[in-house]
Amino acid sequence: MRGEFILVSDKHTDASFLIHHFLSFYLRAGCKVCFLGLVQSFSHYSAISQRLGVSLTQAREKGQLVFLEGLKESLGVLLQGEASKGTRAVDFLRDPSSGLRGLYDFVRDNVRGGGGGEEWGPPVLLVDDLSVVLSLGVSVGAALDFSHYCRATVCSKLQGSMVMLVRCEEEEEEEESDEGSERLLRGLIHQCSLTLQVQGLPTGYCRDIHGQVEVCWRGQCDGQQTQKKLFQYKVHDKGASFFARGTSSAVL
């Protein structure tokens, strides 16, 4: 799983369970993780990871996990404006037209294995979630540039992995979808190597099946075919289980 860019997207549902899974998976595997938590507080992820058997506080203290608390940093910027002395990572709040350069610099500085201390595995970048910057005024192009730069640094140069979550809204059948989450998704699909598209069941709510995941391996440049598979999933207290369509334990 080296050098992979995994894109997780959801529509009308919540795919953050996959982010929690990847976070605890990579931490357990001993990789150096850089997590951009833009939509929830650190204690939220920490509480869930606790249930999955990983302690985020310990990982952060040991230096294995670098966590950007997007909410906390942003609040500092929003309240004090120019006078705030927070990290430059959330500079896009001060001036959305400047793009995500500050965020990329943060990633670049933190994703390398730190000198001294323990040696960790290949670096991993997790972003939860990227579409929130669109509602804060950043353009789709800037977000795509950011993911492109991150991929070049993390996946190509450092042979690490990247997982990004993008959330979409209902899209009316319009020609010009200039509001961007759909456009962002399409742009990112072209950049990534593995797509996990999470949706609710098309037939409606079901207690035993929480939704479906379409897994799509994109062909690399040597002419491999893209393969798609559809699975259904159910989220439990300590994980999620995936199964082929129609083979839910509730049905069989």
């Binding site: 799983m1 919540d14 953050s16 369970f17 996959l18 982010i19 929690h20 899974h21 990847f22 605890s24 998976f25 939509v39 929830q40 507080s41 204690s43 939220h44 509480a47 869930i48 249930r51 999955l52 909410l71 906390k72 942003s74 609040l75 910027v77 929003l78 309240l79 004090q80 404006g81 120019e82 006078a83 709040l93 001060r94 001036d95 959305p96 929130v132 509602s135 804060l136 005024g137 959330r167 809204e169 009316e172 509001e179 989450s181 995941v213 897994v215 598979k229 699975f231 989220v235 439990h236 207290d237 300590k238 994980g239 999620a240 289980s241 995936f242 199964f243 082929a244 083979t247 334990s249």
Partner: protein
């Protein structure tokens, strides 16, 4: 059970149905017991009642502390305003502190319009002399017929103890002023504050009015200690935040007026800041937005 071929080991991920707060139980024995709240049966989060018990049921027991409930207003802001009033009334009955922001009404006006709680009949044991004095002749007569019940204590209505979760309200009556006075309320009435916007800090994508509201809210939270800044001697309480009609033209936001608003992201940025503030304090917010007036598709309102 089929699993994706390149599945990443044992699938172990989790998902909480709602956003959690930044407060967690440190140990099983030390439970945060704030009046008017209780832990959710589904995931143990601290929840409060919205004031409407059927709405509580629909959203899974109640509103989690540290979260935000966004209500899209109906055409004339009749039911959404009513929901906001229920929310605030519930805060008064439970003894929570209130924060009300509106560009249209002063917070005192809003407080006067709160629905009256339907009070429990609590039997208060009164001595026989008191009973004899307070009974009027008609009831004395009635006691002659129902003489078996004469010795029972006289029933008095009193404010239901806040140990109950979720109260019922009588919308045809307004809340007693005495009960309202007992509640601590912080208000933000935009016409009073617009002249006080002094700082020329560039607020980025957020407009000045939202910025001043956010600053005011942060100041109240910090001063009253809802973010934990006050030491433990003061008993903990919840701050109920009611923001009326955000995004409307009265807030200086032209989101509802034009197809290409100048600050198209002002409201979403404000909500992002509000979320950050809620996650780090013991507060609950209800926001009403006149979304039927918004012509531009606003991206990803969380």
């Amino acid at each position: 059970m089929a699993a994706p071929r390149r599945s990443v080991g044992k699938p172990t991920s989790d998902r909480l149905p709602c956003n959690t707060t930044s407060f967690q139980k440190k140990s099983r024995s030390k439970l945060v017991s704030i009046p008017g709240t209780r832990p959710s049966v589904q995931n143990g989060q601290l929840i409060v009642s919205t004031g409407v018990t059927s709405l509580d049921y629909v959203i899974g027991g109640g509103l989690a502390v540290g979260t935000l409930l966004l209500i899209e207003e109906d055409r004339y802001d009749s039911y959404s305003r009513m929901l906001l009033k229920y929310f605030l009334a519930e805060g008064v009955v439970c003894g929570h502190e209130l924060y009300v922001a509106s560009a249209l009404d002063h917070c005192n006006d809003i407080l006067q319009e709160l629905p009256a709680p339907i009070l429990d009949d609590i039997a208060s044991p009164k001595t026989v002399e008191d009973q004899a004095k307070s009974c009027d002749p008609e009831s004395q007569e009635a006691m002659k017929i129902a003489w078996r019940y004469q010795h029972l204590p006289k029933v008095q209505t009193a404010l239901a103890s806040s140990s109950r979760f979720g109260h019922y309200y009588d919308v045809s009556k307004t809340m007693d002023p005495e009960i309202c006075q007992a509640a601590r309320c912080h208000g933000f009435y935009l016409p009073e504050h617009s002249t006080a916007v002094t700082s020329p800090t560039t607020t980025g994508p957020m407009s000045e009015t939202y910025s001043s509201l956010l600053n005011n809210l942060q100041e109240v939270i910090h001063r009253e200690g809802f973010d934990g800044s006050v030491p433990q001697t003061k008993s903990r309480n919840i701050l109920r935040i009611g923001l009326h009609s955000l995004g409307s033209a009265l807030w200086g936001d032209d989101l509802c007026c034009r197809e290409n608003p100048s600050h198209g992201r002002a409201l979403t940025t404000f909500l992002y800041g509000l979320r950050a503030m809620l996650r780090s304090s013991l507060s609950v917010a209800v926001v009403t937005v006149p979304s039927h007036l918004i012509q531009v598709r606003v991206c990803a309102v969380h």
